[in-house]
Amino acid sequence: MTDRRETWLLLAPGLLLLALGFLLPIARMLALSVDGPDGFTLSAFARFFQDGYYPSILWRTVWLASIITAICAVIGFPMAYIMARCNPTLRLWLVMLVILPLMTSVVIRTFGWMVLLSRSGLVSRTIRDMGFGGRSFQLMQTETAIVIGMVQVLLPFMVLSLMGVIGRLDPRLEEAARTMGCTFLGTMRSVVLPLAVPGLVAGSLLVFTLAASSFVTPSLLGGARLEVLAGAVYKNVTQTLDWNFAAAQATILFAGIALILVPYLRLGGNRHG
């Protein structure tokens, strides 16, 4: 009995925060999205799908988040592996290197990219000098710019999730594989990678949800012409004061992410068990 009571006591602050900070606002959002001048209405959702404009924004949001997640995984996995296997001093330095950018505001880091990627910035100029791209070529205000900026912002989440999992793997498993004649890459593929899937899933979830819901970096690097859903929601809340439509868009984003994440979560859960 006391055990159960203690469990509830320990859970209470977290549950309370979840209820007040997540469930309640989400419920309000859902209510707002179907609320009209004459009560219940689905007109906000109908407006979203009336032509290709908003669905194309939704598609861009999901597609960019997927690419960002994939790139973070490809870059993050080798990095996390080395960090998990190197000596503790080097690991400390590497962890600090990964975490350090998180201590600067995302806006500041994005401004750095704006300088590099703009028309006269280092990156765009180099590409032009090498003969790729026309006279006014620039990376700013392209989807590539959004991907570059977001990967830099979100990579630490992937690396840290993977490192935690890989660090707990027994190195003797790899040694066993190698003594049995497996190549290094073969060991990675058939031993480390499958065992690291929970970390990969956790990292991907974090990166994907953060990428799909962010609007500061996409709006600064992508500009007014490449809208993402979170940016469209922001615009409807602050500029056109159309909160019902904003709520509908947020609901669609929420449902879209949930739809993609549920199978993904099951994948992680099965492997874990």
Partner: protein
């Protein structure tokens, strides 16, 4: 009498009792460099002349409007400033009191177009942000002269447009729309023009600092924007000039209004009078490059060259109906988003 009404009445009495003891005025201003100039050009001279105390509340137009609307039973502001046309609605709702020309002698010197709404209770415009052509004097040997120059294909790769979320961007769109044959009931010609310019290589930004970056680093020559921001660019070290477009100069009016239901009307009128005076307007133009509305304002040659100034130039100023803009904002924002989407 309900409890709220009784409380409001009590509060109104309490507030009304205060000015009898101390000369005090509550106004709003817009913060930052604007508020500094406001202090220097209007508030300090007012305090020197009347020995009254001035409470400044930093509140942008929309906020300030929401406040005086909520305070209708017991208003807390004496003078309220708007930049987004809120005085039209406020006057309609009876929140503003008409000015007495006897208490505000400078009103007679204000250009007629800047005090059109006076009869209905709207305050006069004490300064005007004029939107025209901001261009790089280094790059454009033949300066642009008219709005139609924005449409020239040879400039497109060096043209910076501002999106509709920005107040000046909205005005720029409506002006492009006007010269392309559109009206406030049909902004399609304007959207088509913008779409075409973007296809030809123009850049679209949404915030003022991005315009600065485009001019400073990214080879921008030309942008439809406000005279005060051209001055900001100049202060930042860029050789940028402002010229009003020949087809007309759309403008954003900044108005000063007397709040209804306050006791110290005389003091507030005095404040407005100082605000409308030629020295205060010259001071404002010098600090921020807004167009003065007092016909007797004398500007130095240097300042005069960078703002819309003088009777003839000021007569070219026009204003898109703020009520129509508000009514259409949501629909236009969506249409604009669709037009510029890649």
């Amino acid at each position: 009498m309900s409890i709220t009404a009784r409380l409001a009445a009590a509060a109104a009495l309490a507030v009304a009792a205060v000015p009898a003891m101390a000369q005090e005025l509550t106004i709003n201003s817009f913060g930052g460099a604007y508020e500094q100039a406001h202090r220097k050009c209007v508030i300090d001279p007012f305090i020197a002349a009347t020995k009254a105390k001035v409470n400044i509340v930093t509140a942008y137009s929309a906020d300030a409007f929401a406040q005086i609307r909520a305070q209708k039973a017991a208003p807390q502001y004496d003078v309220i400033h708007f930049s987004g046309g809120q005085e039209i609605v406020a006057a309609k709702e009876g929140l503003l009191a008409p000015l007495d020309p006897k208490l505000v002698p400078n009103l007679a010197k204000i250009y007629d177009f800047a005090k059109e709404g006076l009869a209905t209770g709207q305050g006069p415009a004490y300064q005007i942000a004029a939107v025209g052509l901001v261009y790089s004097a280094d790059k454009m040997k033949t300066p642009p002269t008219k709005w139609a120059d924005l449409l020239k294909p040879e400039y497109s790769e060096h043209l910076v447009l501002t999106d509709i979320s920005n107040g000046y961007g909205m005005i720029g769109l409506l002006m492009l729309n006007k010269i392309s044959g559109g009206t406030l009931d049909n902004i399609k010609p304007g959207l088509d023009a913008i779409q075409k310019l973007l296809k030809q290589g123009a850049v679209m930004v949404s915030k003022s600092p991005e315009i600065q970056a485009e001019f400073a680093q990214n080879g921008a020559w030309l942008a439809p924007y406000a005279s005060d921001y051209a001055h900001t660019l100049k202060v930042a070290g860029l050789n940028v000039k402002f010229v009003p477009g020949a087809e007309g100069t759309p403008a954003s009016f900044i108005t000063t209004n007397l709040v209804a239901g306050r006791r110290n009307t005389e003091l507030a009128s005095k404040f407005i009078d100082i605000q409308l005076s030629a020295p205060a307007q010259a001071c404002f133009a010098d600090a921020l490059r807004y167009t003065p509305t007092n016909s007797e304002t004398v500007l130095s040659a240097e300042v005069a060259a960078t703002v819309v100034y003088g009777k003839d130039a000021a007569a070219g100023l026009m204003r898109f109906d703020p009520v129509a803009i508000e009514a259409n904002r949501s629909a236009w924002t969506e249409a604009f988003g669709k037009a510029i989407a890649r």
